[in-house]
């Protein structure tokens, strides 16, 4: 379904985001991409809907070579690949219904199809009763469900999620993960880039770990923290690459561990 062969991505500023990646993902898979910020998870997803073109290597999505895809063919690819982001990217002046319908309408879909598809996906994400509301009237989880409905309305075979629960509290996070799981059960291939260890550990699905643009681990039924000792992984998570390690006091304060330690 998805295959990467020797894919290297170097940004114009010289950053090597991906380094000789080889990867096969079967139809109907449910895959997590984990790793620190800046290790290439988002870059890898962006290659799959041709937001980014690799510097070297082949990218194939649903039997279509994406790396050298003609510009005029990109819309066709995008209709086959739904994308969901951390910040939802909803249009604030449109209702839930309009946001979802928009994705169909701008591809020139017939009104008959819009009237059939939009209620179907709104039912799927459980937002049929809120279809007349605006994004500002919804919870974070509901906004993300709207975004997922929009990503699914074109009936894509693949759903890419870049930090889908990054802005959500635990309850909303579980709700979204359950929804993504149900979507996967209906046959859609789901790829998720995430920092959320709980989500990964609860689902126990294929986990691909990236570090410095390379795949360092690829496990069926994996955990977020693989073989790395938990304490090290935690400290590493807190610091962005290139950033000085945070002083221990600020980490403790951040955790709110001991009220006596805070000023």
């Amino acid at each position: 379904m998805i295959s990467l062969r020797g894919v290297t991505l170097v940004y114009p500023n010289g950053t090597r985001a991906l380094d000789a990646i080889d990867l096969e993902i079967a139809k109907g898979s449910f895959v997590f991409f984990v790793g620190h910020s800046g290790t290439g998870k988002s870059s890898l997803l962006r290659l799959l809907y041709r937001e980014q073109v690799p510097s070297r290597g082949q990218v194939t999505v649903d039997a279509v070579r994406v790396d050298n895809l003609r510009r005029s063919k990109v819309p066709q690819l995008r209709r086959n690949v739904g994308v969901v982001f951390q910040d939802f990217k909803l249009l604030s002046d449109k209702t839930v219904w309009e946001n979802v319908a928009f994705a169909l309408q701008v591809t020139g879909a017939r009104t008959r199809d819009v009237m059939r598809q939009v209620p179907r996906v709104l039912d799927l994400v459980g937002l049929a009763h809120k279809s007349r509301m605006f994004p500002s009237e919804l919870s974070g989880g509901e906004q993300q469900r709207t975004a997922i409905a929009r990503a699914l309305v074109n009936n894509p075979k693949i759903l890419l999620c870049d930090e889908p629960t990054g802005n959500l509290d635990p309850a909303n996070t579980n709700e979204i993960m359950d929804l993504l799981h149900r979507i996967n059960l209906k046959g859609t291939t789901v790829l998720i880039a995430t920092h959320n260890a709980l989500v990964v550990d609860r689902m126990r699905r294929r986990v691909i770990r990236l570090d410095d643009g390379k795949i360092v681990a690829d496990e069926e039924r994996g955990y977020y923290h693989a073989a790395v000792p938990a304490s090290v992984a935690l400290a590493g998570d807190a610091a962005e690459p290139g950033e000085a390690p945070k002083p221990i006091r600020s980490i403790i304060n951040g955790l709110g561990a001991n009220p006596l330690l805070s000023e």
Partner: protein, 293 residues
């Protein structure tokens, strides 16, 4: 295209148009000013051209004969002038007829009964084929026997010829500059509206809208702004013409305004077409630049 799709498209255009109303008004205003100036210029040039042609056609050289010249001398001279290929016609005006014509011309302006004696000499009126060569013919006539004096509107002719020539060149430059400026301003305006809608555009690209579909609303807006601006300009021009022309005819009676005959419909369509073309081309380029970036 079913009606729902057309409704969606129009509602998107309308929504975007109203949301960026100030910017759209800027674009419309720019087109209005440009087209009004363009139209005013074209109209003025056409008017001046028509007036110039009219005046030049009527240019004639008065060749006054010496007092002692006989009618036979006059006929000889007339025949000689007629033989010149640059001369279109020669009319003999004896002094009595000259006085009659003068009385006719001055009627109501001065008391012609005061003209008791006839101060006019016999004269020949010469018309030339090519107005630009009027001074050559005049010089030729001056050299002939029995000629006392030669008069023609030399300065007026040369000035008119020069003015219409210079106006033509300057005007062409100004028009080109105006259209160019308008295109730049509209393209900048559209770029602002594109920027204001970058979220919509990003999502359209994300969900697989074709480039044509993303461009289309902007092109439509450019078209609307161009046509609205040109229509406003046209209204201004028509008003100006209706208000000013009668006053102009009264104020400058010597100008043969009746000679100016402009095809109003063609003129209007040309201006509207220019406005629409400027709007469409400008938005096409600015959206294209954004989409490729």
């Amino acid at each position: 295209m079913d009606s729902g799709r057309i409704r969606f498209f129009l509602s998107e255009v309308w929504r975007n148009f109203t949301r960026t109303l100030i910017m759209q008004l800027t674009a419309i205003g720019t087109v209005t000013v440009t087209i009004a100036l363009l139209g005013g210029f074209l109209f003025t040039r056409q008017t001046l051209g028509a007036i110039g042609d009219d005046v030049i056609k009527k240019i004639e050289i008065s060749v006054f004969l010496t007092d002692g010249a006989s009618p036979a001398d006059a006929r000889t001279l007339a025949a000689k002038l007629r033989a010149d290929p640059r001369v279109k016609s020669v009319t003999y005006v004896p002094k009595a007829q000259g006085l009659r014509e003068m009385r006719e011309r001055l009627r109501g302006q001065i008391d012609t009964s005061l003209l008791t004696a006839n101060p006019l000499p016999d004269a020949l009126r010469v018309r030339v084929v090519d107005p630009e060569r009027v001074h050559e013919v005049a010089a030729f006539a001056r050299k002939q026997a029995n000629v006392a004096n030669v008069e023609y509107a030399q300065d007026a002719v040369q000035k008119l010829l020069r003015i219409s020539d210079v106006l033509g060149r300057i005007g062409l430059g100004i028009v080109a500059l105006l259209v160019f400026t308008a295109a730049i301003i509209i393209s900048n305006t559209i770029r602002l509206t594109v920027f204001a809608r970058r979220r919509e555009i990003a999502i359209m690209q994300l969900v697989g809208a074709s480039g044509f579909y993303i461009r289309m609303p902007f092109i439509c807006e450019g078209f609307i702004a161009g046509v609205l601006g040109a229509a406003l300009a046209l209204a201004l021009l028509v008003t100006a013409r209706l208000q000013l022309l009668p006053k102009l005819i009264v104020a400058l009676p010597f100008l043969p305004m009746h000679a100016v005959n402009i095809d109003g419909l063609t003129f209007a369509l040309e201006l509207l077409g220019t406005g629409a073309a400027v709007g469409v081309v400008a938005s096409w380029f600015s959206v294209g630049r954004y989409l490729r970036a």
